[in-house]
Symmetry: C12
Subunit: 76 residues, 12 copies
């Protein structure tokens, strides 16, 4: 494992409804979904960028905590 | 062990009800639950990201202390 | 993978309409589209620069969160 | 010993009642209790993250001093 | 690829009219155009300096976001 | 000796009564008492974390100076 | 290529008239013109110092954005 | 000598009475007194942590200058 | 070329009259003029310290932008 | 010589009477006087910690400039 | 050449009369004059410390720009 | 030469009377005078710590510019 990996930046997501989806997209030549995590209302997930994840997509009503502040997603 | 690991960022969780669950998700190609810790009301847990944990999920009513401030989870 | 990759800067994009397109352009001698991600209204995507992506193009009505602040794109 | 270990972050715990328990959880693939320290009322303990401890659990009425401020635990 | 490349600085360009041109100039002994990207009105592009690009020229009405602030280009 | 050891963080303890006890706990797989220092009223001790000490316990009425401020212990 | 090159400082130039000239002077024992770039009114150029360019000369009416602020050139 | 040693932190002690004692405690597995320095009233001593000293004990009425501020010791 | 060279500090000079002279003095055992650049009124030059230039002399009426602020030269 | 030595911290002492004594104590297993410098009234001495000096003792009426501020010594 | 040399600190001198003298003193065991530069009234010189220069002496009426602010010399 | 030497800290001395003496004391096991520089009234000298100089003594009426501010010496 790359030594710096444990010090990568993290974001936080708080689900405001059931079924919020956090999708990890693969780093590297191909950009594919490699993991999908479901959150129920009120749950919080904290996730780092990793060797395998260089992009994260959030679906469903949630608050996304980033270095730019809190970004509110909305459901479709 | 990676030398930088002891200096990884940490978060803190304070349980506001019994049975708050802190779930460590595995770093690496597969993202799976590898550890689940239960907190009773009033307990505090402080946890670093590690070589094995790159994401943390919190269920149940709790305060999650992060670099973005305190995020309140709520029970389902 | 380059060790520093996990610590690359990230941007965030919030779609304000369906069909917002986030296009990754290849790093290196040739600058080509290598990935296109579609966002529906209300979705948020967070993306790092990577070994393969050194430029990102955003089409459709969206908010782009960067170190310069939030830049509002508009649809054509 | 990893050279950086002596420079790891520390937290402080002040017991507000007898029998406050500070539990060190193991770093690594398995997350297990590896040490339990009891504090009597009024005692203070200062503890670093180490090669062996990547999470700390506090039970009983205490003040936990962290980089996020002071978190008050309460007894069950 | 140079490890530091993923951490190079980036600029952002928002097109205020169709046909805004972002031209990458080659690093190295010769300074030549090596890539031209067209933006339509309302599109945003975010671009890093790379091993191949050490200068960027913007033509057409646009906002250029740099560490010096926003520079407004105008069309000829 | 690890080169960084001389630059480890330190804390300070001022005894407010005779017999204040400062206990160094061992770093490593086992967490044991390895040193106990007694302070009389009015004495000050300044101590670094070291290769051998990753936790410090203070008993008796004292002021503990840490990066979180001054924490007052009290006697039992 | 020197790894640090992608992280060299950059300046920006906005042309206020046609024919603004940006001249790169060679680094090294001899200081010679090695590249001349013409900007038309309203165009912006962003340029890094490189292995080949250690000095930049600007002729014609323009705004030069530097770490010292904006310096206005004037035409002869 | 470890290269970093010359850059270790220092503290200062000003004696407010004759016979103030500054005791250096050994770094390493055993924590023993290895040096005792006496200060007369009005004298100032400035001391670094070293390869051999990881803890310092001050006895007698003095002002101890630390990164936490000035701590006043008092005589027994 | 020394890798750090592209990141050396730069100064800027704005000529307030024709014939302002910027003279680079050689680094090394001998300190000699190695390059002279003439600026006409209104021109701006931005120059780094380099492997070959460790001192710069400015003659003629100009504004010299440095980390100490703007220093106005005057003609003889 | 250790490379970092030239960048060690320094203190300054201003003598307020004749015969102020600045004593360098040896770094290392033994802590002994290795140099004594006398200052007359009004003289200033600026001294770094070195490979050989890890503690400095000041006797006589003087102002000692440290990172904690100015500490006034007094004569016996 | 030492790589860091291009990043050494610089000072600036503005001559307020003809014949201001800037004298570079040699680094190393012997401290000798190795270069003398004359400035006429109104000229500015910017000079780095180098491998050969560790001290600089300024004679004649001038303003010396340093990290401590501007120091006015006066003629004898 | 140690690479860091060119980046060592510097102080500045402004003589307020003729014959101000700046004395460099040797670094190393022995602390001896190795260079004496005389300043006449109004002259300024800027000097770095070096491989050979770890302490500097100033005699005669002068202003000594240090990181602690300006310290005024006075003549005997």
């Amino acid at each position: 494992m790359a030594d710096e990996a444990v010090q990568a930046e993290y974001i936080a997501v708080k689900a405001l409804e059931n079924g919020v989806t956090i999708i990890g997209l693969t780093r590297g030549r191909d950009t594919k979904f490699h993991h999908t995590e479901k959150l129920d209302k009120g749950e919080v997930m904290i996730a780092q960028f990793t060797e395998h994840t260089s992009a994260i997509k959030i679906r469903g009503r949630a608050e996304v905590y980033t270095k730019f502040g809190v970004i509110a997603t909305s459901s479709g």
